[in-house]
């Protein structure tokens, strides 16, 4: 009886350990998911950001159409639009354009734009040298601002991709008086 009690305890402890490990694994899926998206470029997340490491000769023989889209997340009152709906970009050349944002409300607001690329396959060839999406944007009441973006498409972009859609979704991250939701802490993954 004593022995079987010990056996049960030992097995029970091990099974509890498995449970705890699986709970931790659930949370581990969060960074794993980000890493997976980064490696594969799935999900249209752009990870090539910052100054160019390798300068590329621009390929004048080829041009790619980059469609620019602006989306307001639900409840976001700003007027947000690209300067041009589409631009033609030679692979390898750094191209600049901008979005315009206007805060029509009577209060100071804070916003954050989240980019997404379609087709997802193109995400890893799109390099953003400088982008307003790297930072939060703050606009006073009735203020308008140009939000610049510098991008470069790598020469390795597969030839069948002729159009890339770059979409920005603008989120209202103004701290709520109650502080209930949408307070950015960056707890899950670094801001992109």
């Amino acid at each position: 009886m004593e022995e079987s009690y010990r056996k049960n305890r030992k097995l029970g402890t091990r099974l509890v350990a498995v449970t705890v490990l699986m709970f931790a694994f659930g949370f581990l899926l969060v960074p794993l998911y980000d890493v997976f998206c980064e490696i594969t470029g799935l999900n249209g997340k752009i990870t090539n950001t910052g100054a160019l490491k390798v300068q590329q000769e621009s390929d004048m023989s080829r041009s790619v159409r980059v469609q620019l889209i602006a989306v307001n997340n639900e409840g976001m009152p700003w007027q947000f639009e690209p300067a041009q709906a589409a631009i033609m970009v030679h692979p390898g050349r750094v191209t600049q354009t901008y979005y315009t944002a206007h805060n029509p409300t009577a209060r100071k607001m804070l916003a954050k734009a989240i980019p997404s690329v379609a087709p997802a396959e193109a995400a890893k060839y799109l390099h953003k040298v400088n982008c307003f999406c790297f930072e939060r944007q703050q606009l006073n009441s009735m203020e308008t601002q140009q939000l610049p973006i510098q991008l470069m498409i790598s020469r390795e972009l597969p030839s069948h991709i002729r159009t890339i859609t770059l979409s920005y979704t603008l989120f209202d991250i103004t701290p709520q008086p109650e502080g209930l939701m949408l307070v950015e802490t960056g707890a899950a993954g670094s801001p992109r």
Binding site: L11, N43, A188, G189
Partner: protein, 527 residues
Amino acid sequence: MATLDQTVDVHEDHGPAKGITRWLYTTNHKDIGTLYLWFSLLMFFVGGTMALAIRAELFQPGMQLVEPALFNQMTTMHGLIMVFGAVMPAFVGLANWMVPMMVGAPDMAFPRLNNWSFWILPFAFIILLSTLFMEGGAPDFGWTFYAPLSTTYAPQSVTYFIFAVHMLGISSIMGAINIIATILNLRAPGMTMMKLPLFVWTWLITAFLLIAAMPVLAGVVTMMLMDIHFGTSFFNAAGGGDPVLFQHVFWFFAHPEVYIMILPGFGIISQIIPTFSRKRLFGYHSMVYATLSIAFLSFIVWAHHMFTVGMPLAGELFFMYTTMLISVPTGVKVFNWVATMFRGSLTFETPMLFAVSFVVLFTIGGLSGLMLAIAPVDFQYHDTYFVVAHFHYVLVPGAIFSIMAGVYFWLPKWTGHMYNERLGQLHFWLSFIGVNITFFPMHFLGLAGMPRRISDYALQFADFNMVSSVGAFIFGFSQLLFLYNVVQCIRGGRTATDQVWEGARGLEWSISSPPPYHTFTQPPLVK
């Protein structure tokens, strides 16, 4: 392990305590099994009432009885209650009753833990059901509670839902640990793993699925809780999170979960078909290995629930092929059941009727699952009534019918009385007809494009919806026959023999009907 002698004098059977405290304090596996089964029947009727509210609203196009907000709460609560309140506790109840008796153990390995796993459940469901009476209403985001619908846009009561899910998870995990320890440590001498009855085998594998999957569910609701109250951004794109991540983590839990709800059913059917075919089960070993492979595959197919989120081709193909692969071990099982019946000396008592219809109707559900597994066509079927038809075919005539079959099969053993066979057969036929009238037309509705989880529909869907609602009421009300039959069987009836069924084999049929309060205090010797 003092003696293996089976002729030892039976010790004085002190029997259960008296009054309500018998049920509150009990550590007896039979009492706890009974509690689980009654609780799950209660939840089956609660969840069923909600299903009837849904079907009543969908009887005709336009808005009649249920407001859209309440309709969403009904679909959500119906799903949650049926999954966590009806199907899972019913299987745990059957395991509590049968596993110790089948392996020759005196009780579960951790009897006190067992008491706790059950008594958490009523409190969890009181919390969950109380949300119906709260301001803002109950959870209305579907049982899959996708973020941000369940975080940013959720009613206030979502926090209660999260804590209820936590409690359910703790209960299931403790139950699973108990079952694993009982099966691995408390088998009678001579009961080797490959002699275990299939119900025990399937439950062992299910219990491992539970301790692997339920903690991930606990994780995902914890992330929701943190997003809602502590300002994190796991699923909030503005803060660097990703709503699609929710779907990945959720389905990583929920796909194994759907096998948790069917594997014990496979076990029950594998007990019943040989009994009423008066043959041994065909392909015992292949049944065990098929169950193991289904369990393994269940962890690598989750994204077939989310083909339309924008996965790359390689991902779609991987999840499509692995999903289709599941039909191989499942096919082995169906083949074995049919081969067991082949040239058997068949009789069709109620448990066998449920078991045979399980094999047929579960296979229909499996085939529509195979259709849904094909990624390119899933874009058409996604979020339509075709999906509703599919998973109701595997859950109602699948999981629920296997539970009904198991209850009719073992009820004479538990109570010592035979149930009313005519009433049982009437219950079966009404259920069988009701289920098919309810869910078969949903295939056509889905293929024609009717979206799920919406309280109204376009006029061209009217006729099939009316048929479906009629079937739902037939099915729902015929379950009252089941309740009546069970109660009558407990109160009295023709005395059951120890073996109960002519073809029954196994330790559980060697003890008296009803079994003494404590069985196998001396381990039996299995030859």
